[in-house]
């Protein structure tokens, strides 16, 4: 319809939207002081934002293949950056990351470095070249570059495995937040979450997902930054927390020395009846653990996350939506900029929230005080009643020690506004932000799987003559089926959010990274090599996961490569097998070689036609 006009008006539209959202927050704050209950505020926040996303999704409905799969390749760089950032930052980033730093300190921050550094690989090795190629999905590239349905099929398998591991974690997170905000049981919350995810993506595919993701990014970044700035200024830690928390970090180090970092034995924890999943602080906040092994563990985790980033299909496919190769490159930079806004804030949130608990000179501090007094604090009794926090008096002195305070990591972000004594409207805002983060990632993932199945399996392998209408019907039905299956798995609650996320990265890295990179950069890579590489990489990675994961075989990790890092094994095997098999088989025909040359030229037409 009036598309050109719509794209030109984007800054205005989203500016109005941001203003509207801020006004909504202020209205809620007024309503709270007028005596509105906490429950109503929570429900209004989540319901209001979800309705907006669904409305955007409905407005962006489409019947064109190009718009459905790649948003018509018209998304401007900055907005694509925002959408990618929302796509990227999942419930885990929003809810669990600050919690992870809270408990894990420096050691955990390998995730921060890994989840940002990967974009350099995306930008320099992959995104611009895949954009130039002009494919709709990641397996589309593998299938055309190496030729043959088997290669395409293997890529779809890896994509599905990695994305599905990831998506159950996200639906789980939407369920948790919906359940808490709307006061409904978790199982129902999962289906409500799924319903809202599908509303956003079903009618408009990539186009709808793009525009809802931009809206979700705005909500989530506001929801993350407001509490940090508020707490930092209220507590007098400094006007601009990112630059001014040095003293507080040092103070945490002193407090750690004063209270002592004690790792509780598993037996003692079990005997005291601490609910599963709750942890006490036992690692230093800023201190670096000694020895080469610790450094290796840090680096290897960062490596896995970086390479995983560069092979996750739902991220790569976002760069198919930009208008040109140049725009794809710029867009990666903007994505990381928007991601960095949140990532650099997470350690600050962890710092202020930890300090407000640990410093006995602050009114909010609880460590080192009498347990009976601590239990009388509102939020402590509320969270302990929900089994999200726990106090175990190990030495029986009636004083709360650092190792006697247990908390669930995911609660840190959600509870910090309350702990620091901010009005409840901020907690509602944070819930809406968490919902936005989890929904946006789930949208992107479900769409990545459904597109791969409908485009690569149905259209390219089963029925290449299907008309446009039929293709889109298949794509939409698959979307619903995959979503429902994901929700079903999520409602069984078998994995923790963070563990599942790290596995998704390792799966993607084991099976896809080298076939993609060598597909662009090594003309000699052959079909047989790629197929063997994908199969061997995925199989060896999975086998190693089963070998070390405590719940499966639980063998000691080799060189510190544990179940979070199994991608290192998978990807190295994939590389070796791919190179060896490629060299053993005859080199690809000249048409393919020419295609790879053409791929590296930034200008000109895409290699695949517009409607393929």
């Amino acid at each position: 319809m009036f598309k050109g006009k719509f794209i030109d008006n984007l800054p205005k539209i989203y500016g109005t939207y941001t203003g509207g959202f801020l006004i909504f927050i202020i209205l809620m704050a007024i309503a709270e002081s007028a005596g509105m209950t906490k429950e109503t505020i929570g429900i209004l926040f989540v319901a209001f934002t979800v309705c907006i996303y669904a409305f955007i999704g409905w407005l962006s409905r489409t019947v064109q293949v190009d718009a459905y799969y790649v948003a018509g390749r018209t998304v401007p760089t900055v907005f694509n950056g925002m959408a990618t950032a929302a796509d990227w930052m999942s419930g885990a980033s929003f809810v669990a990351m600050a919690g992870g730093i809270y408990f894990g300190g420096y050691t955990y921050m390998a995730f921060l470095v890994g989840w940002t550094g990967g974009y350099i690989l995306v930008s320099s090795l992959l995104a611009p070249y895949l954009r130039k190629f002009g494919c709709y999905t990641v397996p589309d590239f593998i299938g055309t570059r190496y030729g043959g349905n088997l290669a395409r099929f293997c890529a779809v398998v890896v994509l599905t495995l990695a994305s599905f591991t990831y998506v159950t974690a996200q639906i789980n997170a939407t369920g948790t937040i919906a359940a808490r905000a709307l006061q409904i049981p978790f199982e129902l919350g999962v289906w409500v979450g799924l319903g809202s995810i599908l509303l956003c993506s079903m009618l408009g595919g990539m186009r709808a997902v793009t525009w809802t993701q931009v809206a979700q990014y705005i909500v989530l970044i506001i929801a993350y930054l407001i509490p940090i700035f508020w707490i930092s200024n209220k507590g007098g830690y400094g006007l601009f927390p990112h630059l001014m928390l040095g003293e507080e970090v040092a103070r945490l180090g002193e407090l750690e020395a004063q209270f002592g970092l004690v790792k509780n034995s598993a037996a003692a924890v079990k005997e005291a009846g601490v609910p599963g999943g709750l942890k006490s602080i036992s690692l230093p906040h800023s201190g670096v653990p000694e020895g080469g092994m610790a450094a290796w563990k840090f680096i290897s985790l960062a490596l896995c996350m970086m390479v995983g980033t560069a092979s996750l299909p739902h991220i790569l496919m976002r760069y198919f939506t930009t208008p040109s190769v140049k725009a794809a490159r710029k867009s990666v930079a903007w994505s990381l900029f928007f991601i960095a806004l949140l990532y650099t804030s997470a350690p600050m949130l962890a710092t202020v929230s930890k300090l407000s608990l640990m410093d006995p000179t602050l009114p909010t501090g609880i460590i080192g005080k009498e347990i009976s007094a601590v239990m009388a604090i509102d939020w402590v009794s509320a969270w302990t009643a929900q089994k999200q926090a726990f106090i175990a008096d190990f030495n029986g002195d009636g004083i709360l020690q650092l190792n006697e305070w247990f908390m669930r990591g995911d609660v840190v972000v959600l509870s910090t506004p309350e702990v620091a004594g901010l009005p409840y409207v901020i907690s509602g805002l944070v819930a809406a932000g968490g919902m936005a983060a989890a929904m946006s990632t789930a949208d992107g993932l479900v769409l990545a799987i459904a597109n791969a199945l409908s485009h690569d399996i149905y259209f390219k392998i089963i029925d290449p003559k299907a008309d446009v209408r039929k293709r889109l019907i298949v794509a939409r039905s698959l979307l619903v089926i995959i979503g429902a299956f994901g929700a079903y798995i999520a409602s069984m609650r078998i994995t923790s959010i963070l563990g599942a996320v790290a596995w998704a990265f390792d799966f993607a890295m084991s099976g896809l990274f080298f076939p993609l990179v060598l597909g662009v950069w090594w003309k000699r890579a052959t079909r047989q090599g790629a197929i063997a590489g994908m199969i061997a990489g995925l199989a060896s990675g999975t086998a190693y996961l089963i070998y070390v994961y405590p719940k499966f075989m639980g063998n000691p990790a080799w060189l510190g490569i544990d179940h979070l890092r199994f991608g290192i094994i998978g990807a190295s095997v994939c590389l070796v097998v791919m190179v060896v098999v490629s060299l053993m088989t005859p080199e690809p025909d000249s048409a393919t070689q020419k295609m790879v040359d053409e791929l590296r030229v930034p200008s000109g037409k895409t290699i695949l036609g517009k409607q393929h």
């Binding site: 001014m244 450094a295 030229v601 200008s603």
Partner: protein, 71 residues
């Protein structure tokens, strides 16, 4: 591109190999290794990306591959 990857390697890995000794130095009052992974490396990554995207654009123009169709 090689330079980009070298810089990436430096900020992503080399720094943290020496995390232990770096932490005795301080920047803005933070221990340095802590600061690097909390903010320093991330900011460096963003800068590298914008810088290399611009650089690549210049190279493309020089060799006449600039299509000039977008912003």
């Amino acid at each position: 591109m090689i330079v980009t990857l070298l810089l990436w390697f430096f900020f992503g890995y080399v720094i943290f190999m020496f995390g232990e000794s770096l932490n005795s130095a301080s920047f803005l009052g933070y221990p340095l290794a802590y600061y690097m992974c909390a903010q320093g490396s991330i900011v460096a990554f963003v800068i590298i990306l914008f810088w290399s995207a611009n650089k690549q654009e210049k190279i493309d123009e020089e060799f006449g591959f600039n299509t000039g169709e977008d912003d």
